[in-house]
Amino acid sequence: MEKLSSVGQLEWLRNKILAQRTEGKTEVHICMTGCRAYGSSEVMAAIEEEVGKQGVSKQVEVRATGCHGFCAKAPVIAIEPMGVQYQEVNPEDAAEIVSQTLRQNRLIDRLAYKDPSTHRPVFYRREIPFYMKQERRVLANCGRIDPTKIEHYIAAGGYQALVKALSKMTPEQITEEVIAAKLRGRGGAGFSTGLKWKFAREAEGRPKYIICNADEGDPGAFMDRAVLEGDPHAVLEGMLIGARAMGAEYGYIYVREEYPIAVDHLTLAIEEMKELGLLGENILGTGFNFHLSLKMGAGAFVCGEETALMASIEGKRGMPSARPPFPAQAGLDGKPTNINNVETWANVPLIIKNGAPWYAEIGTENSGGTKIFSLAGKVNNTGLVEVPLGVSVKEVIFDIGGGIPKGRKFKAVQMGGPSGGCIPEQFLNTPIDYDTIQRLGAIMGSGGMVVMDENNCMVEIARFFLSFTQSESCGKCAPCRLGTTQLLEILTRITEGKGQEKDIETIKDLGETITLTSLCGLGQTCAKPALSTLRYFLKEYEDHIKEHRCAGAVCDSMVISACQHACPAGIDVPNYVAAIANGKYEKAVDIIRERNPFPAVCGKICIHPCEFKCRRGELDEPVAIRSLKRFAADWYFENIGPERARFPVTKAEKIAVAGAGPAGLTCAYFLAKMGYKTVVFEAQPVAGGMLGIAVPEFRLPKEVVEQEVSYIENCGVEIRYNSPIDARHTVNDLLAEGYDAVFIAAGAQSSKHGGIEGEEQGLEGLYYGLEYLTDIRMGKDLRLRGKTVVIGGGNVAMDVARAAMRVGADGVQIFCLEDKTEMPAWEKDINEAKEEGIVINPSWGPKRIVHKNGKVMGIEFDECVCVFDDDGCFNPTCNESVSQFVEADNIIIAIGQAPDTSFLSEDSQLERALWGTLVVDDNTLSTNIPGVFAGGDFTTGPTFVIRAIASGRRAALAIDKYLRGDEARIEIKDEKTSFEEDTGLALDEETLTREQPRFAIEFEEPEARIKDFREVEKGFTEKQARQEAMRCLRCDLEKERRTI
């Protein structure tokens, strides 16, 4: 290439390159950066070979490009100008791609993106949701041009901004333009780039330096890497413009050595620029001189800090120094220096070329343009995402990122890496901007977003970041050197189950001190991960310290196997699964009953937290633990039945339990097992609580509950039916009658009212969820006619809608405030409801029930914009300008349940909590009156069966302790069963390497099942159950071996 000696010659070159392009040539763009880790170079070689073999070299250009963004599906290729994207391409696909798509314009289903819900192929990139909400400006060239060829950049309009800056603008005008564009530093702190330039320009001293900070050390961030690898000239052009604006003669790019491809591409790019005369003396004949060199980092995170970075360029230990003086006054070599990060520089050509007004038309009031985020962690579409500033976190993670894999629950997103914090679920609607993110305790940082799901432990995450900052602290200032060590020690102690209650306060104090007194950014922000997790996940810290529970089931010291730890009741899952694998079904049920007297009920309707934590799920799919439990329990009742010998009464004390729901019966069962005489008082004529009177039979047949209750009765638990504890027979009376302790487990059985305009009692066609289900279950004739609207997004709403369908409603629609991702109902229930023809309308807030002559006519809804307010509290906001009227003959309100405390006499001395239930100690469930305990849904509000069961067992342990005069806290640790079952299962390598997917469960066909209340789900056959059980990896054994 010849040296260009004027601005005009650059334009001439551009025209020449464009003219040489063959019209109508098909281009295959293959990512040769990130995707290389997944074999894209082999793919490229194979496609090139096929193109040659099939004789289309003249019509096809195979081009190595930078990152396409959609890294989750690497290797990714794009075919232009068709706009087709193929993903997860193998070298073996090359022949077909060339013969079908390139030669005959035929698309290949197998290689296309699949819509996650319909599984239909989506061929065109513009139709893939991952790209639809993005605004790819800085990344426009990334994945389209060959980053190693300057001609490609020039052809795509590159260096036009430089031409404009050199020929039409004064340095002051350039700076003003950047200020007007409201570009803020993309490296994290978010200072106005234009102002920073102005300071450097006005500073005295020569020469001046500019630096590109490409030391992307922040773990979890890779956007700078992608820009450097995919479009290096954009960064270099930005630097040239900046040098012109500030009057700098020398520039450095400080890049991590861990990015070899970026180093290669930058080196090449600089060579090409020198050849063309875009670097050096008298650039484009304008008299502008600028020299640029590359400096490689040597692996020190602190060098991302500007003063440390400059020390490192100067060949010293990369330690920060105090500011002021700021680099703009005295930086490199003591001379005025400006430092900007990669993405900031890459934004500059866009501003100059298109003008500040164009640039700032997207973004927020205080910051213009887009921001690139690297989306990683527990999110479906990992990759590079460029969005206008101001979009919500939710849009990035759920709309673009495709949500959380494997149906798990989102917990938090970490922004800003070790200097940042986490943003929990209630703030998902926050618009992304420097200031809003800062307010939440995180920072924008360089743009790393690491998504965490329910299987991550927030204490452990904080410990992880501190171990990082502790080892990266340069040691120059004491607050950081000693503080990070102390913080790490405390956090490690907590994750090891040795935490102390005062630790939480210590972390806060220490964190604040380190923040205030450290020398540089590393120290000043190192406490953020701990402080922000503490702010939003205090309970997790407390659970670790006080209860030895780890919500993510990851902290080794408290977890034997994740499934057992995840189970609120703490059942030894691996052993009963192993028993099933060995055909020992009775033993399996015995193991379950060590912690849970309701194996058959849980086998059918448990929300199975265990399966979400199952390690097999990381490989393919979790073991079907719930269905295995169901199989074993069904087998038990079929072959053995509910008969059994009573537990002998060995103790003198008597205990009364109020309420024969899962919590009450579990408590009674375990007390009986310990040898206590136990009597359960139940207001209804049937036992089981919600299980007996509310859960519809298509999910839980009546006989199942009856069998379990009868088993518990056979254990020696006496149930007195139709015996309410109320004003006529109070808790005090029970104590007076000689009961030594009372456990109140009265459930949460009164439906909440909506408080909607027009919601008048006694309206024909207006029902409430739980009462409605109870009436159906108790056999009342509740045929529905006409259109039915169900209000609510929880499990009861699903049950109500499905029940309504079965009693004759003409059409059932559910309306709820939450959007699709926020609905509290279980996904399985939502899907089954949809299959049955129920229409679910998310994001609608009920406004007014319209009725005439005492009969429901319909209901009006406003669009619900968000359910949580800026403080993360439940406080729905509706948009009144978008509303609809829905005609309805019946309205069933199922928006939640509350405990019915009317049975407690007014003068009862039991201390009440704010919302009407009783105040209890979290650990022992004891009330303020000695000997009286309360638990289950009654104190927690409605939750799931397994939690009520856990609460019942806790109460039994607490009552036993109380009666023995032991005042220590209850410690419910994971324990192995005494019925050990040691089998190889999938643990031995032979079976592990063989693919064995989870067995799918069969269901009754929707058309048939909605005709009656038959059970929807079918169970495993014996053969299926034993094979499914073999899939267990026996993590518990691994743990035992490790501790030896």
Binding site: A37, F222, A376, M452
Partner: protein, 160 residues
């Protein structure tokens, strides 16, 4: 395969190359490490002399940066990424497995100088988490089986 004796001629030619470069110490050390696989402790003094520095200053810079090592490394440097994204996707277990498979702790080199096991703060390939790097090649979406197959690939390539 024990590391070769320090080739002094090669060392001096590298020193010569960077001697007059402004702020040349780090590029010089990088060059030495690139050529020898590590920075031979013997080279500290000649480097210091050439750059007119104290040997302690040179040593200080070497020990400050995680990228420099004074110990010879194996033919294959295996880096397990311990970045955030990899961490939340279970790189702790991946590292545990590597240690077991290689019989090495972090920072150790096998006796035959085939393998060195290191951890790295972040490889910037978070989208493929958990990841590892063997010399300059990336491997992503690791599972226990994949780690075993990658490692055995390098073990095998040694035998033939």
């Amino acid at each position: 395969m024990k590391p070769k004796e320090t080739d002094w001629n090669q060392l001096f030619s590298i020193i010569e190359k960077h001697k007059h470069e402004k702020w040349g110490l780090i590029p010089l050390l990088q060059d030495i490490q690139e050529s020898f696989g590590y920075i031979p402790p013997d080279s500290i003094e000649p480097v210091a002399q050439a750059l007119n520095m104290f040997p302690s200053q040179v040593q200080g810079v070497i020990t400050f940066y995680a990228g420099f090592t004074l110990k010879p490394r194996g033919k294959y440097v295996i880096r397990c990424c311990r970045g955030t994204a990899c961490h939340v996707k279970g790189s702790r277990s991946i590292l545990r497995l590597m240690k077991k498979e290689l019989g090495l702790e972090e920072g150790e080199t096998s006796e035959d100088y085939q393998f060195t096991l290191e951890t790295v703060a972040c490889l910037g390939a978070c989208f493929l988490a958990p990841t590892m790097m063997v010399n300059r090649d990336y491997f992503g979406k690791l599972s226990p089986t994949k780690v075993n197959s990658v490692l055995s690939q390098y073990k095998k390539s040694e035998k033939c």
